[in-house]
């Protein structure tokens, strides 16, 4: 196996930075694990140690096998390795070229690209990723599984991709929404260049049943692990669906549901989940030719609208975005969104401090800043969608290249 020198340097530098932060600032890890932006009730590192209430049972043997004396050190190394694994999967996604040229579509700007090492660097040195690694939430396992699934789909190994997505959906509920675009992506990647590909329906049927089969496997393993009871389902998935824990986070849900009357709760839970799931069908149909972009956009939308988001979900979305370097010139609001995200990430902890510690602010300040954060992310998602649609449109109308257009 040839190890690329640039990649080795990058991985070494990223690992060194994270080891430096873990060793020289040991209190930083505890500080970040306690911050609401990094760890949510379903991903918290501290809760993992105390009791495994809201997290997937399969993580329990993983963490209980680690001896208590070296727990901190070994989990730090484990999380660093997870980060490097994610970067490797990202590099594979970028190198496969699926973002620029798929079976059904070739971008007119496909020469403009960042290679795998650059995309990996953008992920590894993103401050959000570093903070998520130091804070050690368990959502990093989900991120790993999702990226591995996408990487395997781009590399023409659909069954592995589906298995990995099954693991991701088992750990957190929302990756199940990525099943349709992932099937389309693996189908497109596998039969790229062939003039008479086999029909999509049996392919989709086989892989969907493989998906549900893998989930059934994981669930039955958990059944045995928790001593033969199905209670873990209500605690693990019920938390996502029914939102019993209303700890503040960077999402939109907690504030709504704190002030909601109980009789309307189920209705609004249904509405919020329907909102999240409603994007899948539309995006898959409209962007049939670019399923990788559908996955990217869905990850971005999940980072905004899922019940317990954190910055690791944002880091996952911002990780896949550099694969679309070729549409960056078409995006209109990059400076504004980057400034908004920076402002929100500074003002958020300040207003949280004013609310919880100084007592001179209240929840509205903090929620307003999380709304600004979500606004920034929404503008990135919609701007990149605009850029990709414009890119597709310029294949039909090449004379409009370089001109200002408005979407009506």
């Amino acid at each position: 196996m040839v190890i690329d020198r640039r990649k080795a340097t990058l991985f070494g530098a990223a690992a060194a930075l994270r080891i430096f932060l873990f060793v020289v600032f040991p209190s930083l890890s505890r500080l970040l694990a306690g911050r609401v932006e990094v760890s949510t009730p379903v991903t918290s590192f501290k809760r993992q140690r105390i009791s495994n209430l809201d997290q997937a049972p399969l993580l329990l043997p993983l963490f209980s096998l680690i001896p208590a004396t070296a727990f901190s050190a070994i989990t730090s190394i484990l999380y660093i390795l997870l980060d490097l694994f994610c970067a490797e999967a990202l590099a594979q996604i970028a190198e496969s070229g699926e973002s620029r040229e798929t079976r059904l579509y070739k971008s007119p700007r496909h020469e403009l690209r960042w290679d795998g090492t650059a995309v990996g660097a953008a992920y590894l040195f993103n401050p959000l990723t570093i903070a998520a690694c130091i804070g050690r939430p368990t959502s990093l396992f989900t991120n790993c599984a999702v990226l591995y699934a996408v990487a395997k789909a781009c590399e023409r190994r659909p069954l592995l991709a589906i298995l990995s997505l099954g693991l991701a959906s088992y750990l957190a509920l929302y990756p199940a929404l990525l099943l349709p675009p992932l099937i389309l992506l693996s189908y497109d990647a596998k039969y790229k260049g062939s003039s008479q590909p086999p029909s999509l329906i049996p392919f989709a049927a086989i892989h969907t049943s493989a998906f549900f089969g893998s989930i059934a496997c994981f669930l039955s393993e958990s059944f045995f692990l928790t001593g033969g009871s199905w209670e873990f389902i209500s605690s693990t998935y019920g938390v996502h669906l029914l939102l019993p824990d209303l700890t503040p986070n960077v999402g939109l849900w907690w504030y709504f549901f704190i002030e909601m009357f109980d009789s309307f709760r189920e209705f609004f839970l249904g509405v919020f989940w329907l909102h999240l799931g409603g994007y899948v069908g539309g995006l898959c149909i409209r962007l049939r030719g670019q399923p990788l972009f559908v996955i990217t956009t869905l990850l971005g939308l999940c980072a905004i609208f899922k019940p317990y988001p954190s910055i690791s979900d944002t880091a996952l979305y911002l990780a896949l975005l550099p694969c679309y370097r070729h549409i960056f010139p078409l995006m209109r609001y990059t400076f504004f969104t980057m400034a908004t995200l920076l402002y929100a990430s500074l003002l958020g902890p300040a207003f949280y401090y004013l609310w919880i510690y100084a007592g001179s602010g209240n929840a509205n300040f903090f929620y307003a800043i999380t709304l600004v954060w979500s606004l920034g992310l929404s503008v990135i998602v919609s701007d990149s969608l605009f850029a990709v649609l414009r890119d597709e449109w310029e294949v039909e109308r090449p004379e409009m290249k370089g001109k200002d257009v408005r979407q009506i």
Binding site: L347, A350, A358, S360
Partner: protein, 473 residues
């Protein structure tokens, strides 16, 4: 306080303890705290009370009660009768107690007892405009520095409202009067069902009965911070434009004609060179890396001035100030030798630096208004460094001396952080070494953040401004 033995205050407090014990109407526990020094003592006690003490070195408190509701510090170092009560209310990092506690003490002292109340060391206050302004500005300086202005300051970060009552002046009020004030305040605190939260937490006092609310004064700090953001946006947009080509000239030589394009908008026609309509690709890596590197460079003076030995402070600071004068030119020379910046990269460097500065100052204004305001004003010339107002980036590529650049360099040198510290010390007659010792003590004991803001936010922005202005770039 002020290093003097609190003889009458201790005596009064012990007497009050015996007096309070006789009454059965107290609904809360009263804790009497007497410490050997006024800065570290209360901080150590309140840290231990909230389990924030350094675990192996400090033992936990043996007796604790519930959450602290309010703290009144009694300071009477005089051995004669006093004239007025000086109320000190500033906390660490500019955080203030709830105005209700201050109003309670003022209403009791000046309303019921007839003792005049002074604040911010304004011993004679005739309620004129100048004196109100001076009180407010002194309050802003005290809040901006964020240091412990009295023993009560250590309690405020724990969300415990605290004030210090200090007997000042030469009059005819005696310890009985002070004791009655303290007892009335305690009776008022006794009646509380919940922590103070109904009144203002953010205010600027002009006089014992007048204050400015945050809605009135916050826009000023926000405007100062937004100034940097607006400049950053302007620089960003300018960095996307290329140099404007010449459309036509009276020169007889046959120059290559620039391509023009006709634009129509709102029924009017204009002719513009095509080149100025296209947005140029921006090279972002080097400016971003430089800005981040400069901000991390601020850790060096922060560490230096927090951990130096006491006797080494003055000469360390002198050497640092002198090195600081040369630092921007040195960095500019290094940059132009290693990787010279294009005109666009110069614009982007200033853009990102101002963007970060504006962001940090806007965030800081919500936490410590005075510090953000003062630093914003002192750093305001940074948005005029370089050439932010020329219409094309062609003029930026002109390096070398010019009157404007030299004026800017001098102004920036005068307004550099170490120079400002020196000037402030000279103006107020305080020793520089004392200021630095106070800052280092504040960092270690109280968790003071002022030096972080100065060295890690203001100084790097100043460096970038100096580098941009430097003729060596």
């Amino acid at each position: 306080m002020d290093g003097e033995l609190n003889q009458s205050g201790c005596a009064l407090v012990l007497t009050l303890a015996r007096y309070f014990k006789r009454w059965s109407l107290w609904s809360k526990d009263i804790i009497i705290l007497i410490t050997s020094d006024s800065k570290a003592g209360p901080q150590a006690w309140v840290d231990a009370y909230h389990n924030e003490h350094a675990v192996p070195a400090v033992e936990p408190l043996p007796t604790k009660s519930g959450a602290l509701q309010g703290v009144v510090v009694v300071d009477n170092a005089l051995n004669h009768r006093f004239e007025s009560l000086h109320i000190v209310y500033d906390g660490i990092n500019g955080q203030l107690p709830n105005l209700d506690l201050f109003n309670t003490a003022t209403a009791i002292a000046s309303g019921q007892m007839g003792i005049s109340v002074v604040l911010q060391r304004m011993w004679k206050h005739r309620d004129s405009y100048q004196e109100r302004l001076q009180t407010m500005l002194r309050g802003m300086v005290s809040q901006g520095l964020g240091h412990a202005s009295g023993p009560h300051s250590s309690f405020i970060p724990y969300h415990v409202d605290a004030i210090t009552l200090q007997a000042v002046g030469d009059g005819w009020q005696d310890e009985m009067a002070m004791g009655r004030c303290v007892e009335s305040t305690f009776r008022s605190l006794n009646n509380l069902l919940e922590k103070f939260h109904q009144s203002f937490f953010f205010y600027l006092l002009m006089q014992a009965n007048r204050f400015v609310s945050i809605g009135t004064y916050l826009p000023s700090a926000m405007l100062v911070a937004v100034n940097f953001s607006i400049m950053a946006i302007a620089l960003w947009i300018r960095s996307g434009r290329s140099t404007a080509p010449k459309l036509g000239s009276t020169n007889g030589k046959n120059e290559k004609k620039a391509e023009v394009e006709i634009i129509e908008q709102d029924g009017m026609l204009a002719v513009a060179p095509k080149q100025s309509l296209v947005i140029v690709e921006r090279e972002l890596f080097l400016p971003i890396a430089l800005v981040i590197a400069f901000h991390f460079l601020g850790v060096i003076p922060l560490y230096l001035f927090n951990n130096a030995r006491r006797d080494a402070f003055s000469w360390t600071f002198t050497i640092f100030t002198q090195a600081n004068v040369l630092l921007p030119s040195l960095l500019a020379a290094l940059l132009s030798y290693q990787s010279p910046l294009t005109a666009q990269q110069r614009l982007l460097l200033q853009c990102f630096s101002l963007l970060l500065l504006g962001m940090f100052l806007a965030t800081l204004a919500t936490l410590n208004f005075s510090l953000a305001f003062l630093i914003g004003l002192l750093a305001a010339p940074l948005s005029f460094a370089g050439q932010p107002f020329s219409t094309t980036s062609a003029e930026d590529s002109r390096s070398g001396w010019s009157a404007r650049k030299s004026l800017m360099t001098v102004l920036l040198q005068v307004l550099s952080p170490p120079a400002v510290v020196l000037a402030a010390c000279k103006a107020s007659g305080v020793n520089v070494e004392d200021v630095l010792v106070e800052a280092a003590f504040g960092w270690k004991a109280h968790g003071l953040w002022t030096q972080v803001v100065v060295w890690c936010i203001w100084w790097p922005a100043w460096i970038v401004g100096g580098v941009i202005c430097s003729p060596l770039l």
